[in-house]
Symmetry: C2
Subunit: 96 residues, 2 copies
DNA sequence: TTCATATTTCCAGAATAGTCAAATTATATT
DNA sequence: AATATAATTTGACTATTCTGGAAATATGAA
């Protein structure tokens, strides 16, 4: 993971609403949650949620797939794992 | 660590210059580096560096101590450890 | 004291991020 | 086709962040 990717992933998580949404998707598991259901759960306007989801998607922290009229979002554990590795290697004691 | 603390720490690291400065301080080790030396290393105006250091300090990711006319900044590994724990517990598979 | 050095704070401007109603796109149902 | 539902994009606005010169603060040396 390059530093610019780490900055993007960190930035995507560095906002209360987005971190809550990401946690929620992690808890929801691989099945994911439809955008509308996420918006309802957090009482957030659709446009606002969509803005935040696109930041998470841009950082590859979530993926989405269409199912009928719904878009199902789910956490992409791989990117989070890469971010954790980046931080462990570059920002923790004993790092390179 | 509360979610608001996690957001603050993530936000402090979610900027290229700050992430580079933090990495540099981690590499420098417990002895730390004077603000001026950091600014010189990155070719960054003092005021700009000071702004970024205060964000890292606010998030408790760095600490500083005066030594003569210099302020020596060093990485605070404990906060980074707490952030890693937060992410592991809340944002990774198998989390609560 | 006076001068020099190290750093921060103040200030203003430029850039980016966050919010949400309204319009648009995509899909499904009748 | 016409209508309804799910979500995104657009657009306008407000708020926050970033940048760096200039002024202020703090310490040390002559």
């Amino acid at each position: 993971m390059k530093i610019s990717d780490a900055v993007e992933a960190l930035g995507a998580l560095a906002q209360q609403s987005r971190l809550e949404v990401y946690r929620y998707l992690v808890q929801a598991g691989p099945g994911g949650v439809a955008a509308g259901a996420i918006a309802e759960h957090f009482g957030m306007p659709g446009a606002t949620l969509s803005f935040h989801l696109s930041a998470l998607k841009q950082a590859h922290l979530v993926v989405c797939q269409r199912e009928g009229r719904s878009l199902i979002y789910s956490a992409n554990y791989q990117t989070m794992g890469e971010l954790m590795s980046y931080l462990t290697e570059n920002c923790c004691q004993g790092g390179v």
